[in-house]
Symmetry: C2
Subunit: 193 residues, 2 copies
DNA sequence: TCAATTCTTGATCGAACGCTCCAGATAGTG
DNA sequence: CACTATCTGGAGCGTTCGATCAAGAATTGA
């Protein structure tokens, strides 16, 4: 009983993610965003309420992408070290540089908006815990299969590896040599015992 | 033979660092900056040329602070693990949260401006290498004193620890539990062998 | 077919942006 | 005491910001 929306919300969010990833929250203008999505400002505000609303929706979608990546890794039946190595390496030379790599929108959100937008804080915490949870499961499973020493504490090791993961992204942004980054990933994996 | 400048450039840069740290590059307006420094826009532009010029000067100054912190650690005669532990812990609960903590301007610059301002890229790389270099020296010295195993490769271990350091800052921003952060720092130190 | 409802489009709002200009203030020099 | 050189700070430049709104287009139920 009314006109149908001409653009797809999911596609719009993917485009918005890209713009926010490129320019950050403050650096992305509503004109940039509407232009990238291919709609007018009116449609943007009708669909997402505000620039902040669009940002939160894009960030939420990004978190879903992260979850898909970690769950896919979790479902793998390869050796746990191999899987973890793949995740760490993707953090700085990934085949999916936009979502899991140094451009990760969540990392940007952490440095740009942590502590000044409650909803963002909540998403940072939740997404971070979700990734950490998947890592914990992977390590626990690897230990059960005997791929890791029995005296590895899964939650502790998971937190350590996620920290390394974030560090690798940052170091990549700082211009660190890929060879050094790989060596650091290897060092971290060796710590698993 | 002319009127003397009424404000101190160094003090101005400290204030600017604070504003950039708080709001980022895009989020900090020249009015914010001039207001925080306590000068008019004319003075700001006469002294620093542009917002970008002020940002670069502030970032350069921040890098000097980082250098001071790492060199002070380097000069310490405590056990190398104790010194490194102090640096890692300061990254998330530091007595100097502004400069060495999660708010570190360099980390923000990395996520906000890496790859889009050559001068920033250069500073990211240089500052990162400087910190890494100090870590390398610390580890090498600790090894010479027999505090670390002889089969520790100093540059490799240094890169790994700096990566952990950056990761800890990010994890702190994401709302990670201080207890977990400490445990992760400890895990990283245990890797030194 | 037409009224009702929603969406799209583009002009436009007031505010804030980075930045410039200039009159007035303040200093050293002869 | 001029004279000159520099600094200060507020007014204001043109532009862009996030957001709104009216008017037309598209879709559905009656």
């Amino acid at each position: 009983m009314a006109r149908t929306r001409e653009f797809d919300t999911d596609t719009a969010l993917e485009r918005a993610m890209e713009v926010f990833r490129e320019h950050g929250y403050e650096g992305a203008s509503t004109r940039d965003l509407a232009g990238a999505i291919g709609i007018g400002p009116g449609s943007l505000y009708a669909a997402f309420g505000s620039k902040d609303g669009l940002y939160l929706a894009a960030l939420r979608r990004h978190c879903e992408h992260l979850d898909v990546t970690t769950r896919r890794a979790l479902a793998s039946d390869l050796d746990v070290r191999t899987v973890l190595r793949g995740l760490l390496e993707q953090a700085f030379k990934g085949s999916d540089p936009a979502n899991w790599g140094p451009g990760c929108l969540l990392l940007r959100a952490a440095t740009e908006r942590a502590g000044r937008a409650p909803e963002v804080d909540r998403m940072l915490r939740d997404a971070s815990r979700a990734v950490e949870g998947s890592f914990t499961e992977m390590i626990a499973a690897g230990r059960r299969r005997g791929e890791l020493s029995a005296d590895v504490d899964a939650p502790t090791a998971a937190h350590f590896l996620v920290t390394t993961l974030q560090g690798l992204r940052v170091m990549a942004l700082m211009g660190s040599d890929p060879r050094s980054l790989s060596a650091t990933a290897e060092t971290a994996l060796r710590c698993l015992g």
